[in-house]
Amino acid sequence: MASGGLKMKRRSFLKMAAVTGAAVGSGMSLPRFVEAGDEIIEDSEKTVFTTCAVCSGGCSMKAHVKYGRIVHVEGNPHDLAAGNPFNPKEGGRLCVKGYNAINTYYDPDRLKYPLRRTNPNKGMNEDPGFERITWEEAIAEAAAKFKQYNQEFGPESMMIMTRSNDFSNRLGKAIGTPNFVAHQSTCYTTQGAAWRAMVMGNNRTFTYDMNNSKYILCFGFDGLGKAKNQHVRNMTKALANGAKVISVDPYKSITAQRAHRWLPIRPGYDLAFCLAMIHVIVTENLYNQEFVETYTEGIEALREHTIAQGYTPEWAAGLIDTPEITADTIREIAREFAAPDNQPAVIPSHKRDAAGPNYQNSYKLSQAQITLNALVGSIDRKGGIILTNNPSLTSFDNLFPLNEGLEYPEARKERIDNWETRGRYVPQIYGNFATIAHGILNEKPYPLKTAIIRGYSPLSVPDHKKFVQALSKLEFMLNCEIYPSEMSWFADIVLPEPHWFEVSALVAKSYHSIYPQISIRQPVVPALHEEAKGFGSIILLLAKEMGLGDYFLDTSEGGSGDASGGKTNNKRLQNLGSSWSELQKSSTGLWEPEDPAARDYKEREEFNTPSGKIEFYATMFEEDGYDPLPTWKPRREDVTEEYPFYMVISRAPMHKMTQTQNNTMALLAYPENFAVLNKVNAEKLGISDGDEVYVESRSEGDIERKIKIKAKLIEGIRPDTVMIYHGFGRYSNLLTNAYGRGANEGDLIPSMTFEEMKALKDPGQGACMQDFAVKIYKA
């Protein structure tokens, strides 16, 4: 019985190219406007190469357009991240966040035009009362405010809070402020510091060649559970090839479920486990002798140290105090990790696993993990951790140097977040979310009056309620966003940016560069909201209005007018022997070096340390007053009778931080977060699955660190641990789907004073995102 006729009538929906947000209605689903979905691929009007921007993985994709709408996206088979350039027949994949990005793109709640706040009061419960204004008004007002306060309080009274961007970096330097505040202290600075000191000297990124690993030991690393494209595919391949996976994690993550063993470690004690592993491998001489002799420095110092300190498995097991992790367990894992049959063995660490900035001992854990990887020869070797080979892109400063006679004013050294910028461990363009509230509220070292904030959410800043007090204190805040987020909620003026489906850029494969590869990002469809302007353009408009336009001239050879993102992209490609138009015409949407030999592992013989070798005894650390060898340090805070639960924060695979909780597709899969607890606590707390509970950490002054959230009772978590997914607890009522869902665990995380941060003596200046304990009781 063939289909047709009636089936067309029922299933063929809106064919209008210009479907407005209202037509999509509640935004619950895209209109069904094709028959059975099959014609999407062959009959699409066009297929455009672009690159996903949801995470920094940079997966290249093919976007299919029909009836003027993006209807489907698929992974680019030739891409390092989304496919397999060595065998493109395998086809390309994306992750669930790449697929559901279409629904973010068409979200009717997206910002459409500039807005100005009419309600002078700022707070979580204060509706900004936004009114629409023109770009001219917005830029004029913002520039006037910045100029006014910079004049009265100095250029350092202005903050630029965004991921590093060529244009805002230059504007900040032209103004003369040192305050480039970014999020990395909540992300990966603890790993970064250890890698720089022991191996790399600079530039943090690396990739994991788990495809070829035979033994993958994970300390909180959940490669399968974050659904990050390449991690998922490579780890899956490793398992399919017979690799052994061990998951050491207080929560039975998806990786733990696929693992051969799940060891539910006491949170924050992974360091003891790793130190004991080093002890076994070194004292029993199980390490890769050849690699250690040729490429490392300090094995004897390490041996002496581990014996002198007594970092035995018995010592570690005593600290970890967990029935499933005995001294024999640790000894067994250590021997397995070093066994020749299990090579290559690797300990991957990405961002917020145990070695990420979660505890005051996290950078030491990273140090210990790098030591272990080096002991078995898995640094920059197949199956191990590969130091990325990103293509070298000409810097903005070299493309558009300042004209003769024009200089940047000298900025004050001290920053509002007290971020120490001894370039060795952390660049100036990073920042400290843990101390920023302290600085602003206490006007230390000086008052902060204005800010440009782009893309970040207050929900991702520790001690959220304190941070929004700080935000409210600002005299003027300009927010650049695609959504009316909780950051917009505290803004004076909000400017709409285009979604990445509408912009142009070059994307180097930061996490996946086995060899250099650049993918194109280009507009797939005409801009949905005509008034949206790219961030570079916004900065340029501001600069000109503030009389700083000279800093943005196109000073390149033969250049005229202003610098721009488009020119930057083109020139960078030209310096690689290509061009923007060439990349646009490419049949793969990718730039790669022409020489096929360049597509191989580099396998460095020398490393970027003072000795040229991987340093077990990190001389850089020693110079700067840190322990050069991996040593024990406990958590900052442990559980007590009053606060008996450990805290673990994670993220659902279909959600990206705070950016997808308004996305209808993502919400269908995961609509709200929970306090995930072991079932044994049901009786203790007198609660059932789904009951509301309070989760509370120690309060401070007028900041109440308490949230109300539903409990979820499972078996797969330590009885003394609670796990909460990030991204919920939304209060911007302009996000119609996100509003009111779940709770924000960021309310519980203590922030730090400058003194507290300094006292940690952490070269990564990590924010200690999980280094506190909580109590839980029925609501």
């Binding site: 689903s29 059975a36 979905g37 494209n229 398992l239 399919a240 998806i254 499933e324 279909m654 078996e715």
Partner: protein, 245 residues
């Protein structure tokens, strides 16, 4: 009828429960609100720390012995030439007999659109030599599509590997169940962990319905029409008689 040789396999030891499949299927087919053609279900069992969690992608298995087809009174639920189970909305009367008789519970009544919603295995794509959307988008390639014999062989290799890893109950589900399921599954545990029926058989009720009651129903309908005709004609004779008395 010789059905096509292709099949789908879902390796539940690889699935990471990211719901990319659910997302794209819904984007393409636009099912109503909380109705899905495919959806992930999570089931946890055991006691800490011996915990077992399984992820089950629930969607039409396109059984060879399809009880929904047998139960359908109008023939709306039918097998395509390719052997896939598809419901024709034009002749469907939403009686829900298909949903009631599905051993996997994968047919949903959409009241707002007055249709029975279920996975079609993207039958029109398959006809054009493409693979279904879910298998083409699955990030870890837990869902694969291709020649049945090859998938069965792959599945058996996976089962062997899983057993070596310690999953003693690992099995390949769907090879012969209900005449063979078009959608095979590599399971780490017994089917009941996933909510799947163990050794399902065509129910007696559906068989009786299909071979006895439906035809009887047809006969009954014919009988009723015959009875009406007889009643109409015999009444006329009575009247004539009365008049002449």
């Amino acid at each position: 009828m010789a059905y096509s040789d292709n099949a789908m396999m879902i390796d539940k030891s690889i699935c990471i429960n990211c719901e990319a499949c659910t997302t794209v299927c819904k984007q393409i087919y636009g099912t109503t609100d909380d109705i899905y053609r495919t959806k992930m279900h999570v089931r946890e069992s055991g006691t800490y720390p011996e915990v077992t969690t399984v992820y089950h992608k629930k969607a039409c298995m396109h059984c060879t012995e399809a009880q929904c087809v047998m139960a359908c009174p109008t023939g709306a639920c039918h097998k395509t030439e390719d052997g896939l189970t598809v419901i024709d909305d034009r002749t469907c009367i939403t009686c829900n007999y298909c949903a009631a008789n599905c051993p996997f519970g994968v047919i949903t009544f959409d009241r707002t659109k007055s249709i029975m919603e279920k996975c079609t295995l993207c039958n029109t794509r398959i006809e054009k030599g493409l693979e279904p959307f879910c298998s083409s988008v699955c990030t870890p390639k837990a869902i694969t599509f291709g020649a049945r014999a090859k998938l069965v062989a792959n599945g058996k290799t996976r089962v062997k590997m899983l057993k070596e890893q310690g999953y003693e109950e690992a099995n390949l589900y769907g090879e012969n169940e209900l005449g063979g399921l078009r959608v095979l599954m590599v399971l780490q545990h017994n089917p009941d962990y996933y909510g799947l029926p163990v050794d399902p058989e065509v129910s007696i009720g559906v068989t009786i319905w299909q071979y006895l009651l439906k035809p009887l129903g047809g006969l009954a309908a014919l009988g009723m029409i015959g009875g009406l005709i007889y009643n109409y004609t015999s009444n006329k004779r009575e009247l004539v008689k009365k008049d002449s008395a």
